[in-house]
């Protein structure tokens, strides 16, 4: 579009201005540029606002905010460690369940299922990803929590009760229940991205392995999966970022306990749940500022994970296309 302007003969100043405004391409370039730039600016502004509004808390606690274990609004003592611990622990539980389940299903959908069945199942799983978090929380409160309290947690204590992980009373709410809900929310991401990565593996790789006498499973597990490993890893990163930032469902089943507990059956807290429960009721500037700083910590965690995931996924797709 620059050429149109360049060919217009240089004229007096008012003419130039009208020529500029008559030239629609310049204007549409400018207008669309403003909208695109607003996306960039609003994101920068978001980080800036989080930084400014957490200033009070950052000034008072410094880095000890991240390692402090007491959260006491009465004495204005705020440490984020119990919530960071709860966030990481529930996300870890979620991945322990959703990674084998998700990768297993992705293998079936890409390697064994006929394309029609594969697409139908993937569609169902992607719809599952669209289920609002608050609805999963609602289901969890009235179905999963009683189930955990009456059957699963007593069973775990009965069989694995010697481990420090499965001790204490069975409340039904707590790290394990929150982890289970997060597993349901994360495996759709693992399945749909891993399946794409597995489908991008060249056919020759499979055929070569089978021709060497490998069984279907050996060809899949030792050739196809390693070939797609970066994409699968990327999907796990994305799932992890989702799990860390998940709010509503976790808030409804985490149990709201500000301590650090080794037992998975114990009630706890996550960063997002802490913010959700206390933000509107926070009295005192330093309390509010600490909650915003929790948000900043959460933002930083998910940002790093998402960036890592993107790099991994870009790396796999590049590798796939080079092999073709």
């Amino acid at each position: 579009m620059g050429t149109v302007v360049a060919t217009a003969p240089p004229q007096s100043r008012p003419r130039k201005l009208t020529a500029f405004w008559r030239d629609g391409d310049k204007i549409s370039h400018l207008v669309t540029f403003i909208f695109a730039a607003s996306v960039f600016l609003v994101t920068v502004f978001l980080v800036y606002e989080l930084w400014i509004h957490s200033g009070l808390s950052r000034a008072k606690f410094g880095f000890s905010f991240l390692t402090g274990t007491t959260w006491d609004p009465n004495t204005d003592q705020f440490g984020a460690l119990p919530f960071i611990y709860g966030t990481v622990l529930t996300s870890f539980i979620a991945l322990v369940i959703s990674v084998p389940l998700g990768v297993g299903a992705a293998i079936f959908l890409s390697e064994l299922a006929p394309p029609k069945l594969s697409n139908a199942c993937t569609f169902l799983v992607e719809l599952l990803a669209a289920v609002p978090s608050v609805i999963l929380g609602l289901l969890a409160i009235f179905t999963l929590v009683p189930l955990m309290r009456q059957y699963i947690e007593p069973f775990l204590k009965h069989t694995l009760g010697d481990l420090p992980l499965f001790q204490g009373p069975a409340y039904g709410v707590g790290y394990l229940t929150a982890g289970l809900i997060l597993a349901i929310m994360t495996f759709p991401f693992i399945i749909s991205i891993s399946r794409e990565a597995l489908l991008a593996v060249p056919r020759e790789q499979r055929e070569a392995a089978l021709a060497l006498g490998a069984t279907k499973w050996e060809s899949t597990w030792q050739v196809v999966v390693p070939f797609a490993r970066l994409g699968i890893l990327g999907s796990i990163f994305i799932a992890l970022a989702r799990a860390l930032g998940e709010t509503m469902a976790v808030t409804m089943v985490i149990g709201n306990d500000t301590g650090i507990h080794t037992s998975l059956l114990s009630p706890g807290y996550t960063i997002a749940a802490m913010i959700a429960n206390n933000f509107t009721e926070a009295t005192g500037d330093i309390f509010l500022s600490s909650l915003v700083e929790l948000g900043l910590v959460l933002f930083a965690l998910t940002m790093v994970l998402n960036a890592g995931a993107q790099l991994l996924i870009i790396a796999t797709t590049r590798k796939g296309s080079r092999q073709d």
């Binding site: 579009m1 297993g104 009235f142 948000g295 998910t302």
Partner: protein, 282 residues
């Protein structure tokens, strides 16, 4: 020979296990849907759609204000989010230079990954703090931020999939670039863009976390956009956490309505896209 047998057995076991994983993960949606229909169906009546919530402990009432409130929030979010996503996407696909487009693309992905509760904090600092009260504006703004990256990337992606020969044909006929984009490229990609926008709406329709401290909640009708506004997701959270059976009943009903809307929007977007694909092929 023995080893071959072992390998074959392992093969069968592992492949069966992957099948089991698929059955579990694919059936989860039906389980969720089944529970919601089972628990929510009986509570869906005319009152639910037309009446206001009653005070705690009373039996009856409905969530009319939350249904309307959700609609209002979605409209505000769409009015802000769709133009920004659409125009920004056009910039990225048609006008943008390399470096700045990369930057916008990266920040859009970043914004897409920001936890919804953090978006809520941001909207609170920008709108609620200066105005000193919760409002539909703040809630709608928060939701629009979640919608923008989806619309932006969908618009860009589908504009890029339009063949260059179409652009060249239009330019060769003497059309300006703006004219080419608006009359040739965007219409060719309209199904894809529409799909992206519907998916964006479906995503924000169910979000409760960004509304917790932006639009908050309201037991009554909100007369202006400048006061706290009830919404379905917030109501589900609020009612489910209460101690009254009748409120739980309404939470189930609200959950069923919300899930139905979200799933219908998702399925509709697929349908639009698949229709577009077959029309292009035909």
């Amino acid at each position: 020979m023995d080893q071959l047998k072992r390998r074959n057995i392992l093969n069968n076991i592992m492949l069966t296990l992957t099948g089991v994983c698929t059955v579990i993960t694919s059936s989860a949606l039906f389980l969720i849907l089944g529970f919601l229909v089972y628990n929510g169906w009986r509570s869906l009546n005319w009152d639910f759609f037309t009446k206001l919530p009653l005070s705690a402990g009373e039996v009856g009432g409905g969530l009319a204000n939350a249904i309307v409130g959700s609609g209002v929030l979605i409209v505000i979010a769409a009015v802000i989010g769709i133009p920004v996503g659409f125009m920004g996407g056009i910039y990225l696909a048609e006008f943008g230079g390399k470096t700045f487009s990369m930057l916008v693309r990266y920040t859009a992905d970043l914004l897409n990954g920001v936890p919804s509760i953090v978006i809520g904090i941001f909207a609170w600092t920008v709108i609620v703090v200066p105005l000193h009260h919760f409002s539909a504006w703040a809630g709608g703004f928060a939701l629009s931020l979640m919608m923008i990256p989806i619309g932006l990337r969908a618009t860009e992606q589908f504009l890029r999939s339009v063949p260059n020969s179409l652009r060249e044909g239009s330019l060769a006929l003497g059309a300006s670039k703006t004219r080419t984009v608006m009359s040739v490229v965007v219409p060719a990609a309209r199904q894809g863009i529409l799909t992206g926008m519907i998916l964006g709406v479906a995503r924000i329709a169910g979000e409760a976390a960004p509304l917790l401290f932006t639009s908050f909640n309201n037991q009554y009708w909100s007369k202006t956009l400048n006061e706290p506004t009830a919404s379905l997701p917030f109501m589900i959270y609020y009612l489910a956490g209460s101690a009254y059976d009748d409120w739980h009943r309404q939470a189930w009903a609200a959950g069923l309505v919300l899930l139905a809307l979200v799933l219908i929007a998702n399925i509709a977007s697929r349908w639009v896209l698949s229709r577009g694909a077959s029309a292009q092929r035909g």
